[in-house]
Amino acid sequence: MIVMQLLLSFVASTLFGMIFNVPPRLLPHSGFVGMSGWAAYTFAVRSSVDSVIATFIAAFFVAFLSNAFARRYRAPATIFIVPGILPLVPGGTAFEAMRHVVMNDYNAAIPLAAKAFMISGAIAMGLIFSEVVNQLVKRRP
């Protein structure tokens, strides 16, 4: 089951990389980053961490790996970050929020929308924190 999840997230991230025209030789790397991000997310959620914090941890991990790859392969970090964070996007929560809006059930929609918003913010914060770490690492001689 876990192997299947890892495999699916690896393939999905690699293919997302193709949609964004990542150079062919770096496609497996962006797939690996996506897989690690999803693994971090599911692992955190299964050990009953809140999904906002789980997303933050996963986004941090994705950006950290991407920066490491960017230094190693001398390519822009964006190449690895973009396919990596896509699986973390709160599609499910946003969908549920939208479904309630359509049913005119705004009271149920607002908490879900707020959650989707918080998860998006967590992705941004994860990227920011890892950039801070990246700059600290870079500065060290």
Partner: protein, 247 residues
């Protein structure tokens, strides 16, 4: 000397234009142009880049150039190529003429993967993602709806130059196909399939660039990329909501 400065500016602007058109972050564009100029001996250059235009000027001379970016696409491999060339220029590997030839070669390159490969990738990515969320029995139906959604997006974007409408339409198509399959009795879990199918449309690059530009202090570029991401997400959401409301 002025002729040389003109030539250096030409190369900087070409590199900047290629990067920005292919979806590079604005801070990376400014950084690259400054580095290229410095390696060719023009140390005091200033640039101001927004997602839709580049201004570049050299201190102490009268020249300032401006170029407008009207077509933007997503081609991260071109960003990587220009980045590589800028590194080679900085290390002194490439001369002025060599750099111009290399950049012009990149400009002529066709856009990344061909459309059929991208559509196939989008279909398979949707299928994988829907299976990741809901289980393997989502694989085949999402293959169809995700692929169709991406293909409709590309086709619509060619006819109508309004990106957000193309995204709305593609999400609508994805949702519509899923609903049709539900009424035919092929699928039960509509939600996860719709999410999987619209995944290739999600503005991942815009989100990443918005955050990275804001971090680098490029407030205008960051906010406009953020607006792009938000509008895209909104368009997808509206497309899905449209389908759900006629269900």
């Amino acid at each position: 000397m002025t002729e040389r400065i003109d030539e250096v500016m030409e190369i900087c602007l070409l590199a900047g234009k290629l990067m920005l058109e292919s979806g590079g972050e604005t801070y990376r564009v400014e950084d690259t142009m400054g580095r290229i100029a410095a390696s060719f001996g023009v140390s005091r250059s200033h640039s101001y880049v927004t997602p839709t235009g580049i201004m570049f000027s050299v201190e102490g001379t009268n020249v300032t150039r401006f170029i407008r970016i009207s077509e933007r696409s997503t081609d991260l491999s071109k960003v990587a190529l220009v980045n590589h060339i800028s590194r080679r220029i900085s290390s002194g590997e490439l001369s002025l003429d060599g750099a111009r030839k290399e950049l012009e070669r990149i400009q002529q390159l066709p856009l990344g993967y061909p459309l059929w490969q991208q559509t196939a990738a989008a279909a398979a990515a949707s299928a994988c993602f829907a299976s990741l969320l809901g289980g393997m029995n989502h694989f085949l139906p999402s293959l169809l709806s995700g692929g169709m959604a991406f293909w409709c997006f590309e086709m619509m974007h060619r006819f109508v130059k309004i990106r957000f409408f193309a995204e709305f339409f593609a999400a609508f198509v994805a949702g519509g196909i899923v609903l049709l399959m539900e009424s035919a009795g092929f699928v039960r879990d509509v939600g996860n399939m719709m999410i999987g199918s619209v995944m290739p449309l999600v503005p991942g690059l815009a989100i990443t660039n918005a955050v990275r530009d804001l971090m680098a202090g490029h407030l205008i570029a960051g906010l406009s990329r953020g607006a792009e991401a938000f509008l895209t997400a909104f368009a997808i959401g509206t497309g899905i909501a449209f389908v759900l409301s006629i269900r």
